[in-house]
Symmetry: C2
Subunit: 208 residues, 2 copies
DNA sequence: GTCTATAGAAGGATAGAC
DNA sequence: GTCTATCCTTCTATAGAC
C-alpha cells in the first residue's frame, strides 16, 4: 500500500465518520460521503466494498473512542469526591468536543442491538462497582451503586445528547446553552456529592 | 367523511406511528406502513399525500403526548419532596409504556431542529422555574434551578432513552433491566431530594 | 374509497477506460 | 488508483380501472 492509498482511504474514512455521526446509517448517502471526501463515489466501493462495511468500520472507531475514557477515570488514586469532580470535568469537556457522538451510538445500537457486542466486553462493570463500593464505605448499600453509576452517566450525557431540545428550552428562558454547560461542569459533581453525603448522614442517624 | 374513512385513516395513522417511532423518518418505508395497516400503499398517499406529511402528522401527535404531562406535574399542590417523588413515579411509568418515544423525539429534532417550534411554545420554563424557586426558599440560588430541572429530566429520561446500552451493561453484571427501573422509581427521587437537602444544610452553615 | 400497475427518481454497486 | 458511464434495485408517488 503506497502513501497515496493511505491518504485517500483516510480521506474517505474521515468524511464517512463525520456524516454517519451526524445523520446515522439510514439517512447517509454514499454520494454525500464522496462529495465531502472530494473524490468519486466509485472509490468508496473500491476501498470499502459496501456502505455497510464502511459504516461498521466507522462505528468500531467511534465506539472505541467514547468508551476509552470511561473505565479508567474511576481507577485514579484520589479521594472519591475528587473522582466525581474529575469525571464530570473530563467527560463533559470530551462531550463538548464530540456532541454528536452519544446520539449516534445510542441511535445505532437502538436500531441494531447486535452492535452492542462491539464494546460490551470493554466495560467491566463489576470492577468499577467494587472500586466505588470500596470508596464509599458501609453507609451506602452495594445495591444502589449501579443506580449511582447510571445517575452519573445520565447527568453528564443527557444534556449533550438532547442538546437541540435543551438548548431550545434554555434559550426560551434567556439562558445560553454553552454557558450553561460550563456551569454544569461545576454544578453536576456537587449535586452528586451532596446526594451521597446526605445519604451517608441518614444512614448514620438510623444506626444510632 | 363516512365511518369507514375514519377507520382506514386511523389504521394508517396508527401503523405509521408505530413504525416511525421505532425506526425514524429516514429508515421508514411506506410499504412497511401499508403492510402493518393491512392496506395498499396507494392509500397512504390518498389520505396523507406524501411521506413527509404523514410523518409530520405523527410527529405532532407524539410531541404532544410526551410534553403533555411535563408542565402539569409541578403545578400540583403538595410538599416539594412529594412533587419530586410524584414526578419520577409518573414519568418513569409513562416512559416504560413508551420506551421508544424519547429517542424518536430527540433523534428527529436533532436531524431537523425546526421541529422544535412544534412544542417549544408548550413549555413555559420560567413559570416552572418560579414554582420551584418558591418551593425551595432562599437556600437554593435561583441560578441553579435550571440545572436542577435538567438534572431531574436527565435522571428519568436517559436510562430509558439509552435502554439497549444500559440494559446490556446491567445484564453483564447480572442485573435485570426491568427490576432496575422499578427500583429507580424509588431511588431516583431520593437521590434528588438528598442533593437538595445537603445543599440547603451547607447554605445555612455558611450563613452562620 | 380501494386496488393494480407503473412511472419516475434516488441510491448502491459494478464495468471498463485510462 | 481514479474516473465516467451505467446497471439494477428500492422507494416514493401517481394514473386509471373498479
Amino acid at each position: 500500500m503506497t502513501k497515496d492509498d493511505k491518504l485517500t482511504e483516510e480521506k474517505i474514512f474521515d468524511a464517512a465518520t463525520e456524516i454517519f455521526e451526524e445523520k446515522g446509517l439510514a439517512a447517509t448517502r454514499m454520494q454525500d460521503i464522496a462529495d465531502r471526501a472530494g473524490i468519486n463515489k466509485a472509490l468508496l466501493h473500491y476501498y470499502f466494498r459496501s456502505k455497510d462495511k464502511l459504516f461498521n468500520a466507522v462505528f468500531d472507531k467511534l465506539a472505541e473512542k467514547i468508551f476509552a475514557k470511561f473505565a479508567s477515570i474511576f481507577e485514579e488514586d484520589m479521594p472519591f469526591e475528587d473522582k466525581i469532580r474529575f469525571f464530570f470535568t473530563e467527560h463533559i469537556k470530551f462531550l463538548q468536543k464530540n456532541p454528536k457522538l452519544p446520539m449516534f451510538i445510542i441511535g445505532e445500537v437502538n436500531r441494531s442491538p447486535e452492535l452492542l457486542s462491539k464494546f460490551l466486553d470493554r466495560i467491566n462493570i463489576n470492577r468499577i462497582k467494587e472500586k466505588i463500593s470500596g470508596d464509599l464505605g458501609d453507609d451506602i448499600s452495594p445495591d444502589v451503586i449501579p443506580h449511582l453509576m447510571v445517575s452519573i452517566i445520565s447527568l453528564s450525557v443527557f444534556p449533550v445528547a438532547a442538546k437541540p431540545i435543551i438548548s431550545g428550552i434554555l434559550d426560551s428562558a434567556g439562558i445560553d446553552y454553552d454557558s450553561f454547560m460550563e456551569e454544569r461542569i461545576k454544578v453536576a459533581p456537587e449535586f452528586v456529592i451532596n446526594a451521597i453525603k446526605q445519604q451517608q448522614v441518614e444512614s448514620q442517624n438510623k444506626r444510632k
